[in-house]
Symmetry: C2
């Protein structure tokens, strides 16, 4: 169930627009905290909480160089979350296609 809690944290990390914006920016490459959160329109304490949650999910890591905090996207937890959705999406798409074929057959 260890992997469950990784997935829990990954999906939770993705469940807020501020955190998704930070992920979108870091998907372009590493950035300072200032760059990753510029113009996001939330308070510094709120930014700190969102970054903490992303770090706890393992979705970002932080390197401190003097006074500069540099953030980097760690994609493994997000890839795992993506794989979970893809796996089940393929299944339900197959099931729904079966149902449609069944209904189409009954219409003949």
């Amino acid at each position: 169930m260890n992997s469950s809690s990784t997935l829990d944290r990954s999906f939770l990390a993705l469940s807020h627009p501020v955190r998704r914006t930070i992920i979108e920016r870091l998907a372009q490459g590493p950035a300072t905290v200032g760059e990753a959160t510029a113009g996001i329109g939330v308070s510094k304490p709120a930014v700190t909480k969102h970054l903490k949650l992303l770090e706890e999910a393992g979705a970002i890591t932080r390197t401190v160089e003097g006074r500069t905090h540099r953030l980097r996207l760690e994609t493994a937890p997000l890839e795992e979350a993506s794989a979970w959705v893809d796996h089940w999406r393929r299944l339900w798409q197959r099931k729904f296609a079966e149902i449609e074929r069944y209904l189409a057959g009954n219409d003949d």
Copy 2:
């Protein structure tokens, strides 16, 4: 930002193992509440809360037939969540491939 809050609710819905188990079962086809939650090992009030959150996310719908509550997976919100992750995954995979090519070039 309407779509933001849909994504918020979809990812939140996915952030708990009980809710993911219910989604996994409903991906196989519609089921009663009893079937969808059998052996999950949480209390009835907890099941009720998880189902409510899934319904609020639009990920499941409930049909009441007498005393039977039948649940059905609604895939649109989950497809949207999946599309978000896929979009950004493709981007960071491309960026990381660029970085690797750059580093490989510098090693020559």
